[in-house]
């Protein structure tokens, strides 16, 4: 290309809004969707922001909430611990995700379908359920692994202790790494083999090619996944409540919880969590810095092709590693949970007399339980669709620079993830439970809140996908007489189909298991699985809880496999 690069040229989109609107009617639709989006995120956040600067009694403006939240060394230390925790989890999660993602997407490792399905199984497992599984496995006195170790070696103590910082990081990473896995496989699927062949022909070995060419090409995707993991971990409550607390480790979400004990100080909670938005912004600057001006994987419209790296005997090494990861994340903990799910009384341990299907029968025959399971899946599915739609529109507006201030729109789309669910839910409840928009008790408020909460995941993925598309493919539609809307529906969406289904899953899965937002917003006819699990754990019905976990796992894997089938013919792969 000569002259001014087309991206720069595309950036010179009309500055004068009036003329723009007059001349491009489909722009009205874009604007409307962006407005909805802003409304969905901005108004709850604005409410939180306002309340964080107000005295709850008088409504007067004050900084007192921030002083309460950050004025004590102890609270700052807790914040530091949270960041360290999230950082460690991110690193470990990358270690779990990237090698397996590469092996699944680019090598001839056996058993790929199973590995993919079980990794999504890890994803669907609510972190608190996985944490319970790991307590059964690695509890210092009675954990299975420790008892096995003691039985084998005759040692007097176990070797692993889940109640430690390492245990906390490890268990959290096991249920967070699928984010990175999904992002990375999606990008790796698109790297053209020619890029790898170019390195090979210059004398690079397979390993060098992978490390120096393939992985750097998908760095943006890995980084995007890592950011999501980091933010999600900062706001995570379930695992810390179960593991960090007994391990005497204090993290931010545990601290936050205490602001909801009497005397309730929700505004201090808001003050405590809003500065996390700053962390989001900082992460994005860091991302820009790391990626710099390098070009990355691009789908040019000239097509590409792909061949798999032949690992020879090493494919069994790759398989062993993948198996290890899924064993740690799914097979072992679910074996431990399975003991409970199929027991009359799980505390009795294994015995034939203790075996039962009663817990599953109870779930299947209880109309309430059936409704609840149905709600979770339908709400999550609707959330997935809505979030992907909004994310594609927002991502498109930002990447194609259709309006000024795109960077801000991007930040806005990214912030909800880092706001702890309970705090976001308060903002939501305050905004959407009273007239003029009284949605409380409806499915809509849950779907909208889930959409807001998980929009960042869909957004990150949509932007990553859109960046790989050459804008000329849309311009080709327009110059032939098609509107922007048509360019998106006929070209952008089909080309990103796989990536969008990935986005949908990335939203769907956490929406199925989301607890903290749901807890605040469920009504009598809109109960969801996570809330039911909380009930079950509170009254000690651990057998039913484990059975419900199994149902969740099985149904989700079925949905995921169906999703993959729906993707259909993969037109990008010529030589796979």
């Amino acid at each position: 290309m000569t002259g001014v690069p087309s991206r720069l040229a595309a950036g010179a989109r009309p500055r004068r809004l009036g003329a723009f609107l007059r001349l491009d009617p489909s722009a009205l639709a874009w604007m409307a969707v962006v407005a909805v989006l802003v409304f969905l995120v901005v108004s709850p956040l604005a409410r939180l922001l306002a309340s964080s600067f107000q005295s709850p009694e008088t409504g007067a403006w004050t900084l007192a909430n921030y002083v309460t939240a950050f004025g004590r060394m102890r609270n700052l230390e807790v914040l530091g611990t949270s960041l360290l925790y999230a950082g460690c989890v991110t690193v470990v999660a990358v270690g779990f995700a990237v090698p397996v993602a590469w092996a699944v997407a680019r090598s001839d490792m056996p058993g790929k379908g199973m590995v993919r399905a079980l990794i999504l199984g890890a994803f669907i497992t609510p972190p608190y359920l996985g944490a319970i599984g790991w307590i059964l496995l690695a509890g210092p006195n009675a954990g299975w692994l420790n008892r096995a170790w003691m039985a084998l070696t005759g040692a007097s103590g176990g070797i692993v202790n889940v109640y430690s910082f390492a245990g906390l990081v490890f268990v959290t990473a096991l249920y967070a790494f699928p984010y990175i896995f999904v992002f990375a496989t999606d990008a790796l699927d698109r790297v053209s083999t020619e890029m790898e062949e170019a390195a090979t022909i210059l004398g690079a070995s397979s390993a060098q090619t992978t490390l120096r060419v393939t992985l750097p090409l998908v760095t943006p995707a890995i980084l995007a996944g890592a950011i999501v993991v980091f933010l999600d971990t900062v706001a995570l409550f379930g695992t810390p409540a179960i593991i960090a607390l007994p391990a005497r480790i204090r993290v931010m979400t545990l601290q936050l919880w205490q602001y909801f004990e009497y005397p309730v100080r929700a505004e201090v909670a808001a003050a405590y969590s809003l500065p996390l938005v700053g962390i989001t912004v900082a992460l994005f600057w860091a991302q820009r810095l790391i990626l710099g001006r390098k070009g990355y994987v691009a789908l040019t419209g000239k097509g590409g092709s792909r061949a798999l790296t032949r690992l020879g005997p090493y494919r069994w090494v790759a398989f062993a590693y993948a198996l290890l990861v899924i064993a740690l994340a799914v097979l072992l903990p679910f074996a431990a949970l399975g003991q409970a799910a199929f027991s009359t009384a799980w505390g009795q341990g294994f015995s034939l007399g203790n075996l039962t299907l009663q817990n599953f029968v109870r779930l299947a025959t209880d109309a309430n339980a059936r409704d609840t399971i149905g709600h979770s899946f339908t709400f999550a599915a609707a959330t997935g669709c809505l979030a992907v739609l909004l994310a594609v529109v927002a991502g498109y507006v930002v990447t194609r620079r259709l309006m000024p201030g795109g960077f801000l729109l991007g930040i806005l789309c990214m912030t909800p993830l880092v706001i702890p669910g309970i705090v976001l839910a308060i903002g939501f409840y305050a905004t959407y439970s009273t007239p003029p928009i009284a949605l409380y008790g409806t499915a809509a408020i849950l779907i909208l809140a889930f959409t807001t909460r998980f929009l960042p995941i869909a957004y990150v993925n949509a932007v990553a996908g859109l960046r790989t598309l050459n804008p000329e493919m849309e311009e080709a539609v327009r110059i032939l007489g098609g509107s922007r809307t048509r360019a998106v529906s006929r070209v952008v969406v089909p080309l990103l189909k796989k990536s969008l289904i990935g986005s949908w899953l990335l939203v769907f899965i956490p929406a199925v298991r989301e607890l903290s937002t749901a807890l605040f917003l469920v009504g009598p006819n809109t109960r969801v699985i996570s809330v039911m699990m909380l009930d079950l754990s509170e009254n000690g019905s651990f057998e039913t809880l484990a059975a419900l976990g199994f149902v969740l796992l099985t149904v989700t894997i079925a949905i995921v496999l169906l999703g993959y089938r729906l993707v259909g013919r993969d037109f990008m792969l010529r030589r796979s």
Binding site: T2, G3, A12, R16, N470, I479, L480, R490, L495
Partner: protein
């Protein structure tokens, strides 16, 4: 806008495009007649792609207007959306959609024009025949070679019978042989369909083969616009002379009725020259110069004693580089394969003053 409109005439007046402090296109004027093939030729960054994208409606001008058949389609205040211009465009990346087959790619624009299913099939079949892709109609783009992809892009653009056809460096991704072949293909298709065409390229060969007229662009302006022959034989600026073919520049100084060059001088009357005294620059093509061992007989032509500095044999010709006696300035000379000289030979250089083209003084940088 329905397909099959007659070719339109396109008029760019005072067209500018600024990005902050950087001026990509600077008060550009251009008239493209209906059915004419005009190339925008220039080096990277000269503003040719921006100009093309303004014609397409992707970029809004900061000043000036674009008219299509007299109607304003772009001005700083209002830009008609690209989809409403009835144009089509071939992109540097081809931008053929990998999710659609060859036939679906080509049929896309026709479907937008609400043609019947049969009419679409007929037109698609016809155009694929024309670009010799009929057998590949059901393939996906990833299954085609670069040249085939290029022809899909061509077919997709011309099947809608655009009012204006725009091409943005369409051949730059092809290998040399294919590029050579596709130039003629593009010209052949233009001769068949006679669309008003604007073609952006940095390759003078492509422009010369395909175009009715070539606009040479430099720093956001058109330096000269003319038919290929005129452009080659009568370049108006040093930039154009250098950009189109190879050329020698001779710096001279006119005083009285003679013009002095390094090592020789000529009577002003023999040269095309302005009235004023002072520095003048002439372009002279390498094949307008001749070399000989003996001093030629005195005549119309000027003869200068030179020494041969370099030589290269290109098969169809020799390229010699000779050094002028006075300041050692070098000139290229093209000679027939039979005229063989050796480096270091002392020779006579003959130049025909009628083939020396005076150039306008450099206006900028």
């Amino acid at each position: 806008m329905s397909g099959g409109a007659d070719p339109s005439n396109l008029s760019l007046a005072g067209l500018s495009c600024r990005y902050g402090a950087f001026t990509a296109v600077d008060a550009l004027d251009l008239e493209v007649r209906a059915g004419e093939f005009v190339s925008l030729l220039g080096p990277s960054g000269c503003g040719k792609t921006t100009t093309l994208r303004m014609i397409a409606g992707f970029v809004r001008p900061t000043a000036g207007t674009i008219r299509l058949d007299g109607r304003v389609i772009s001005s700083p205040g209002a830009v008609l959306a690209p989809e409403k211009r009835g144009m089509s465009m071939i992109f540097q990346s081809y931008a053929i959609w990998p999710n659609m087959t060859v036939a679906e790619n080509v049929a896309f624009g026709l479907k937008l024009r609400h043609l019947g299913r049969d009419a679409i099939a007929a037109k698609v079949g016809e155009i694929l025949e024309t670009v010799r892709l009929k057998a590949l109609a059901d393939r996906y783009p990833a299954e085609l070679s670069g040249g085939q992809q290029q022809r899909v892009a061509l077919a997709r653009a011309i099947v809608i019978q655009p009012r204006v056809l725009l091409l943005d460096e369409p051949l730059s991704n092809l290998d040399a042989n294919l590029r050579e072949e596709m130039r003629y293909e593009i010209r052949r298709l233009h001769d068949v369909f006679r669309f008003t065409t604007v073609y952006v390229t940095h390759d003078q060969g492509e422009a010369m083969v395909t175009s009715d007229r070539i606009a040479v662009m430099n720093q956001g302006r058109i330096e000269q616009i003319d038919a290929p022959y005129t452009l080659y034989t009568r370049p108006r600026t040093a930039f154009v002379a250098r950009f189109i073919g190879r050329t020698n520049l001779l710096e001279g100084r006119r005083s009285g009725d003679r013009v002095a060059f390094p090592g020789f001088d000529l009577p002003a009357g023999m040269l095309e020259a302005g009235e004023e005294a002072g520095a003048v620059t002439y372009a002279v093509r390498p094949h307008s110069l001749a070399l000989s061992r003996q001093a030629p007989a005195a005549g119309e032509d000027a003869a200068i004693a030179v020494s041969l500095a370099e030589r290269a044999f290109l098969g169809e010709s020799w390229t010699y580089v000779v050094a002028l006696p006075q300041d050692g300035a070098r000139l290229s000379v093209t000679a027939a394969p039979s005229h063989v000289f050796d480096v270091g030979d002392r020779l006579w250089l003959t130049l025909d003053p009628r083939q020396m083209v005076p150039l306008a003084p450099e206006s900028r940088g």
